[in-house]
Every structure is written in C-alpha cells, then in structure tokens.
Amino acid sequence: MSRTIGRGLLLLGLLIPLVPLVVGAAAATWRYPALVPTDWSLRGLRTVASPASDIPVGLLSSTTIAVSVALIASAIGLCAGRALGLYTFRGKRVVQFLLLAPVIVPGLAVVLGIQIVFIRYGLADRVVGVIVAHLIPTTPYVTLVMASVYANYDVSYEDQARVLGATPVQVLRSVTLPTVLPGLAVAALFAFLISWSEYVLALLVGGGSVRTLPLLLFAYLAGNDTNVAAALSLVIIFPPLVLVAAASRFLSGEQGALVGFSRL
C-alpha cells in the first residue's frame, strides 16, 4: 500500500513539471495572474509540425549528431573501458583522471580553447565539428560505464570460446559483445542524452549554421514565443522518453549488466 503511494508520488513529481509545457503548447495568451490560459491556439504545435519551419531541420541535425556521438563514443568506450576495467598498466591513474577532466572542467572553458583549433581544421560551423565537440563530454561517461562493466566481466569466457574453436572475431561477436551489450546500451543511451540536450558546445562550434533542437528552443525563448517554445520542448522530450522506456524494458532481466552498472 505505502509502496503504491510512494510510486504514485514519484510519478506525480515527474509529471507535474510537464503539465505547464503541455498546456503552454496549446495556449495563445497565458499571462501572470491567470492560472489557466485565457486564449487557446494550435499555432505552436502547427509551427513545430510544419515543414516550412526550421524545426524539422533541427530534428534532423540533432538526431544525426546524437546518434553519431552515441555510436562513436560507444566504440571508443568499449575499448578504453576494457583496458581500464581488465588490465593494470603504467599510467592507468593518469588516464582515469584525464577521462574525468572533461566532466569537471566547464564546457564553456573547453569550447573557447578548442574553437580556434576547430576553425583552423575546418571543423567549425559544421555538423562534424559538433559531433567531435560532443565526444568530449560523452566519451568519459561511456568509458567509465564500460570500465565498471568489464570489472565484473570474466575473461575466461573468451579463453573458453577460443579452445572451443572460435576465432578472435567470432569471440568478439558471439561472446564478448553479447555479454557487455546491456552495459553498452546504457552507456550509449547516456551519450545520446548528453548530446541531445547539449547547448553550449553546439552553439559555439556550430556557429549558428548547425541548428540543433536546444539552439532552436533558446531562440524561440529569446523571441518570447512561449507557445512555440513549449511545443518544441515536447518534441525535444519525446525521443529520450521513448529511448529510456525501451532501454529499461530491454534491460529488465539482464541482471548481470546492471550489477556492474550499479557499481558506479
């Protein structure tokens, strides 16, 4: 009974902040003393759905960037996490610290430094540049998650597969990857979410020509168009919600990986 109430309160706490967004997305005028909008309109939602607006373009570039970042960061984190989780080597602590550094150092400080380099190498104002920039905060997360997954991983499974006749590639495909997949999925989801909602790096590296959804959202907010901003917020929230729901479904029952994950 008390458990149900607890869950209900938790759900309520998560949903209440979304209510003004939903209402706002359908409100034409909604000013201070009024508790509910005085005037309703579908303009915001129509703008968001309209191909003429810049939102479909933003959706495309945000998706391209976040998916690429999730894939690349996962690939790097898979290897780096294995090295950190399984082996001891000279300079391991230094590597661990350097990995944490982007998490500690503010993104703004980083971007001001790298922007000069990006301009020199032609990465500024381009989608590729934003992807590279987003790898800076995401790779550490993925690597740390994978390191803890590998810390719980028994390499003897790979030896076992080899003596049963699996080539190194077959071992990777049919033993290693399936075993670490749940952890990798969580890590990739992290990377996707970070990239999806990132603003500062996208603004400065993208230089206005790469327009991701958070950039558009801030533009509408700056233009005081709360109606479209609220509608756009819903668009931004939707994909992560679906992904998190899918991941938690996929991961339930995969105890092994979650044990490693809970170690973080």
Binding site: D154, S156, Y157, D159, Q160, A161, R162, V163, L164, G165, A166, T167, Q170, S174, V175, P178, T179, G256
Partner: protein, 362 residues
C-alpha cells in the same frame, strides 16, 4: 600428444613451468597432479595454445603446433568453472563449437542432442544455464567440449568446485565417458585420490617440474624422490646409508630388494606394508607403541624403535589389541622398501645424520 622441455616464465621470477616433458599415449587419460600453484594450469594453457611457451615444444602427432592459434589445435578444454555462456541456452552452449566451425543447423541439433544424452542430461537444450545445478553445469561444459570431437581433451580441475559426493559421482561419469569416446585426455587435479582413481598414468608436478610420470601404483611403491613420497602421504621416511644392498637405519638393518648404489639415502616404506611379527622373526626389531588410534577399518599405530629417534607409522587390523607402551616387533618387508635420494638441503627433517648411523651399526 607430447611436450618437450616446455618452459614458461612470467617476468623475471623462477619459471612457472620448467622443462616439462610429457608423452601421452592416444586414448589414455593422464592426470597432471600437483598442489595449487605448481604450474599445472599453465601447462594446460600452453598445450591449448592460450599461452605461448618461453621455450620448448608442443606436438600433436609429432607435428609442432607452436604458433597455431587455439581454435585450430583440435583441443577442447573444460575449466574449473563451467563458464557456460550466460546469454545462451544449454543447447546453444553445447553447439557453440560446431556453430563456430560452420556446421549446419540440423547437424548441430543432432550432435547436441547426442552429447546431452551422453552426459545424462537428455532434452535439456532449451534450459538456461542459470536453471542448472553445479554438477549439471559442469556436465554441460563437458558435453560442449566433447561435441567438437577434439583430438585432445584438457580438463582443468573440473570437479574441484563440486561437493564431495557429487565429485565422486562425476568422477566416475568422466571416466566412463572418456572410455566411451576414447579421447586422449589430460586431467589437472590437486586431489591425489582423484588422480589415482581416474588416470591411466599420473604426472606429478611439483614447483613447475614433472617429478614422476608413471602408473598410480608406482607412486606408492617406487616414488622417484623424497618430495614425491611426501606428496603421496608416505609417513615412513627414514634417513640412513646404503651399504651392500643393506639399508642402515637408526633402528637396524633392512635388506633391499632392488639394487641401490652405496651412500646416504632415505628409505620409504608404506605404512600399510609394515608388519607386526613375533619376537622370533630373524629380521624383526623391537619397538614400543607410542600411539594407537582406532579408525574402524584399521588401527593406526605410531611406534618408536628401541634406541632410535625415528617413529614408525603402521596400520594393523582393528582386532589387534595395541595400547601405548606395548612392546612389539616390527619387520619391513624388502619388497616394500624403496630408496630415494636425499634432498639437496640435507637429511630429511633433522633426523640422525647418516655418519652416526654408520658408526652405530658397523
């Protein structure tokens, strides 16, 4: 399968595996016996190809397999832990090796079913490994290794994590399966009894070296060194000297059945072989019972020969009425006596020095 001068050193310390020679007759089950940390598992991994030796050679059918990766060596290995792939069903686990070799579905299914029957787990294909008991898991692991029909089966203490009763049961199963499929097998164990019961031949490994490679009986009757005798639980180890095929101990002379060069040595006598005889026996020596323990099937006795610091361990039938302080006459039958060289460190465990013995009995 044979191994020549196989050596593996990790870093700069003494080699883990040191000049190991081993020659396994096809179809035999050889036990690689030794205490933990003696290099048994490393030897197995060198043969499997999971490690590359520092020096020496591994040959299958007289052809060196050095540099051949494990998946092309026609070996299968079962580890201490079952290591069933957790994301696969039992059937997929057993069929793993076949699928890796590109064997067709129908064929895989047929051979998996066959193997599961052989390890007495018929129809378990769809189970998850988490639904199995420890013994079942290890049987699946065995089936998974055998299904690829390896030329050599390597077992790395596969029974050590099972409880005692199950271990005996599994031991018999392993033996009968090994006989049935006639696969050459190398079985690593630290359990002397397991090795004796299972193996056609035993290779005893101590500190990285094979000290003796022989049939089980030889380890009891003719241990090669003092360390081998100790490992096989010989309690009667007497330091002394050999003169003219006679062993001079602190308690008397013992005739030796086998020719032994003169000089200091250690006499090994199994405690089961020591005889209690009457005073009239020509070769008997007197002793006093120090301790007699009733163990149901037999009586374990420690006796001290007169005028000697040695303790003779013996077992006698349980109806012998022996109590501490009793006077008995003991005889060491020549064919049960075996000489081993002294250890380099000197006489065993601070017993009387051979020179003293010599002067006492000259």
């Amino acid at each position: 399968m044979s191994v020549h001068g196989l050596t593996k050193a990790f870093g700069t310390t003494a080699p883990t595996v040191d000049q190991v020679d081993l020659d396994v007759v096809p179809g035999d089950l050889v036990a690689l016996l030794g205490p933990s940390g003696c290099g048994k598992t490393t030897t197995l991994k060198l043969i499997a190809g999971l490690l590359e030796p520092t020096s020496g050679d591994v040959r299958f059918d007289r052809v060196s397999v050095l540099g051949v990766p494990p998946e092309r060596r026609s070996v299968a290995m079962v580890f201490q832990k079952p290591l069933l792939f957790p994301h696969m069903s039992v059937g997929d686990n057993v069929g793993f090796g076949l699928r890796m070799r590109g064997v067709g579905h129908a064929e895989v299914d047929r051979r998996v079913a066959e193997m599961l029957e052989l390890v007495q787990l018929p129809g378990m294909q769809t189970r998850r490994s988490s639904q199995l008991s420890g013994g079942q898991e290890q049987r699946v692991a065995l089936a998974r290794a055998l299904v690829i029909e390896p030329d050599l089966l390597l077992l790395d203490e596969p029974l050590s994590q099972l409880d005692a009763n199950l271990r005996v049961e599994m031991r018999d199963l392993v033996r009968s399966i090994q006989r049935a499929v006639a696969v050459t097998t190398l079985f690593v164990t630290h359990d002397q009894e397991e090795a004796v019961v299972l193996a056609d031949r035993i290779a005893l490994m101590l500190e990285g070296r094979v000290r003796q490679y022989d049939q089980a009986e030889a380890f009891y009757r003719r241990p090669a060194t003092l360390a081998v005798a100790r490992f096989f639980g010989s309690a009667n180890l007497f330091a002394g000297v050999v003169r003219d095929r006679r062993f001079l101990a602190t308690f008397g002379q013992v005739a030796l059945a086998e020719p032994v060069p003169d000089g200091p040595g250690v006499l090994v006598v199994r405690q089961e072989a020591v005889e209690v005889v009457s005073e009239a026996h020509p070769r008997a020596f007197p002793a006093r019972v120090g301790e007699a323990k009733y163990l149901g099937t037999h009586l374990r006795v420690k006796a001290q020969p007169d005028g000697s610091g040695d303790i003779v361990h013996l077992t006698v039938a349980p109806d012998y009425r022996l109590a501490p302080g009793d006077r008995i006459w003991l005889h060491l039958p020549p064919n049960a006596c075996h000489m081993v060289p002294e250890e380099e460190k000197g006489p065993a465990a601070g017993r009387a020095a051979p020179t003293e013995v010599g002067s006492l009995w000259r």
